[in-house]
């Protein structure tokens, strides 16, 4: 997926493949500029103007072109829902919350007479007390946690097969974050939908998901089960991310394993691995070409060309604390 900015071309996402089955919980882990959000916007058919996409998308067995608005309306709107970090941007500030939730149902051809009852029921389901009263509120009259619950209620009314949660709790306080994540998980299990959690927070991803996709500079660097990622990461970037986060049991007299430098600009197109300039394990070979994703022992897919030589040096937190 790429954009043109004048003369320059931005490759936002390159060669991502993922499959989510009903009941799956998959995390896409990455920092800003990694391409994690662009990947999900593409799936949702919400790409900014000027985007070019190659590859294929299908949902519930039906293929669609994310740039074809009619196709997106037909396929995506009925089967996919999304919750974003900024709940205010997902809600119309001058319409009552209940009215906005009813619209979701009306767009799907539900009967107008039962819509308001269903909305109140959905608000109750996501743990909003006094749902009749809250349905008459405007978005600004609700707290951040409550607005995020409204967004989840809205997602549920769409009865999706796939729920995309893009940094759903980043703006929330710790305890509200825990409540919202619990709610998403509870509903995910109850309805059996597939969950795609997009986050920079590897600890949260570990807590919630069973599979992980680690992205950097538009590339998938590692695609693996969460258990394998924590026990035995298969890319130096994954291992470095795991080591750079303070944990409650981090020894306080030891510096964190910082990753030197900063992520590359979206305009740069290095020949080799984009993480090589910051990688402690990089050799000349890393600068020559970006290797394809390939399977390694334990079932992980990795793009690290040197993984067989260095894997024994990479340790995840499960092993560090064991």
């Amino acid at each position: 997926m790429k954009f043109r900015r004048g003369e320059r071309v931005v490759h936002a996402v390159r060669d991502v493949s993922l499959t989510a089955r009903a009941g799956d919980r998959i995390a896409i882990i990455g920092e800003s500029g990694s391409g994690k959000t662009m990947t999900t916007l593409a799936m949702l058919g919400l790409l900014p103007a000027g985007a070019e996409v190659s590859g294929s998308f299908s949902l519930g067995g039906e293929r669609y072109d994310p740039l074809d608005k009619a196709a997106v309306d037909r396929v995506v709107r009925r089967r996919m829902a999304a919750v974003f970090q900024d709940s205010l941007s997902g809600l119309n500030p001058i319409k009552r919350v209940g009215t906005q939730l009813e619209e979701v149902l009306l767009l799907r051809g539900h009967d107008a007479s039962t819509a308001s009852t269903k909305v109140v029921e959905a608000l109750r389901r996501v743990g909003i007390s006094d749902p009749q009263m809250r349905a008459r509120s405007y978005p600004h009259q609700l707290s951040g946690g409550m607005r995020q619950r409204v967004m989840i209620a809205m997602a549920l009314l769409a009865s999706p097969q796939l729920l995309i949660a893009d940094e759903p709790t980043t703006a929330l306080d710790a305890l509200v974050q825990a409540q919202v994540i619990d709610l998403v998980l509870e509903l995910q299990r109850e309805i059996g939908l597939a969950l795609l959690l997009i986050t920079h927070d590897i600890a949260l991803a570990a807590d919630v998901c069973e599979d992980a996709i680690v992205m950097y500079a538009g590339y998938v660097l590692e695609q693996t089960s969460m258990a394998a990622l924590l026990e035995r990461p298969a890319h130096p970037y994954s291992a470095a991310l795991l080591g750079s986060m303070p944990r409650l049991d981090s020894p306080r007299d030891v510096p964190l394993q910082a990753i030197s430098g900063e992520a590359p600009s979206a305009y740069s197109t290095p020949d080799g691995c984009p993480f090589a300039p910051r990688c402690d394990h990089a050799r000349d070979i890393c600068g020559t070409a970006m290797p394809p994703l390939r399977p390694v022992e334990g079932g992980a897919l990795t793009r690290c060309v040197r993984i067989d030589e260095i894997r024994h040096e990479l340790a995840g937190p499960e092993r560090l604390s064991a």
């Binding site: 920092e31 800003s32 409540q179 306080r252 900063e262």
Partner: protein, 324 residues
């Protein structure tokens, strides 16, 4: 004797009228020793930003005294440019967008009057070396730096005049995960180098725990628990501290299996705090006593202090022990 760089003595802060205004901070008594880092945790509305503004002298307490380096922040001229410095979440907010960063770093040196002109130049160069901003980078304007570089520049500016106290308010929250560790390590290094005293405020308990010698837990403007980091993490006494701890993702699998304390409802508004203990409306072990009488902050056997009628009763897994 321990020298206290920051002292809050009987501090309350009320916005609005004394009688009917909003009491955002109540009865705060805490001292921070030279070279110590005190971590502050609490949710939005807990009063942690007000605490920071009081320490910086940007606000005056409604009752009580705030002293930095022995001097009350209420004195004329105190608190401005001299005593405490701050590192904000948004590094751009403490750097002038049209000045080279080296100029912004020299500014507090001019105000502090501790250095002559040559000394100011030398000092600015030293601290910029410390934060590893090379000759080329320090002559750029903030817009030409990355987020991590800007935050390093604002740390240099905060530390330039050797302030007795540095307040870090969500200082790494806005940075990319891979850059956070660099900045945290930098803060630890310069803290050691200058024996700096830090107030480290963050909503992220793991980061606060990693950075702090002691932790103060705030809820609705009141101290719930305060103690050394190791014992507070190992042996939390207040149900609110335990709830916060149990909500931290552990970088391991198994949220669905893990026993956690789940609170119902939302935090009450600071404008309308409940009677008795402020946490009583959400506390899993609240008794009638808790709803009637506010518990004082009292010392515990482990050396920490907690404001709870029933400390250590709630188990870390959320199960309730016997109420004594």
């Amino acid at each position: 004797m321990t020298r206290h760089v920051l002292e809050f003595v009987g501090v309350s802060k009320v916005y609005g009228s004394r009688r009917s205004g909003i009491r955002v901070l109540r009865d705060l008594n805490v001292s921070v020793a030279a070279g110590e880092t005190l971590g502050i945790v609490g949710e939005s509305g807990s009063g942690k930003s007000t605490l920071a503004r009081l320490a910086l002298g940007m606000e005056q307490p409604t009752t009580g005294v705030v002293r930095v380096d022995g001097k009350s922040t209420g004195r004329a001229g105190a608190g401005v440019g001299g005593s405490a410095q701050i590192v904000f979440q948004d590094p751009a907010s403490s750097l002038n967008p049209v000045l080279e960063v080296v100029t912004s770093v020299r500014e507090p040196l001019t105000v502090s009057r501790k250095f002559d002109k040559a000394g100011r130049t030398r000092r600015a160069d030293t601290i910029l070396d410390e934060v590893r901003l090379n000759d080329e980078l320090r002559h750029r304007i903030p817009g030409e730096l990355s987020g991590g570089q800007k935050q390093r520049a604002s740390i240099a500016r905060a530390l330039a005049a050797l302030p007795p106290l540095v307040v870090c308010d969500e200082a790494v929250t806005a940075l990319d995960v891979s850059v956070r560790a660099q900045v945290l390590n930098l803060l630890r290094r310069v803290r050691e180098e200058y024996n700096s005293t830090l107030l480290f405020i963050s909503h992220d308990l793991s980061t606060v725990a990693y950075m702090s010698d002691r932790i103060l837990v705030l809820y609705l403007g009141k101290v719930m628990e305060i103690g050394t980091t190791a014992s507070l993490l190992r042996d939390p006494a207040h149900p609110y501290t335990m709830t916060l701890l149990s909500a931290v993702p552990r970088m391991q699998q198994g949220r669905l299996r893990r026993e956690r304390i789940v609170l119902g409802g939302e935090a009450p508004s600071i404008a309308n705090p409940p009677a008795g203990c402020p946490f009583s409306t959400r506390c899993p072990i609240a008794q009638d006593l808790c709803r009637q009488q506010e518990p004082p902050l009292a010392p515990l056997a482990n050396g920490n202090s907690a404001a709870c009628h029933f400390p250590h009763v709630l188990g870390a897994d959320g199960r309730q022990g016997a109420v004594a």
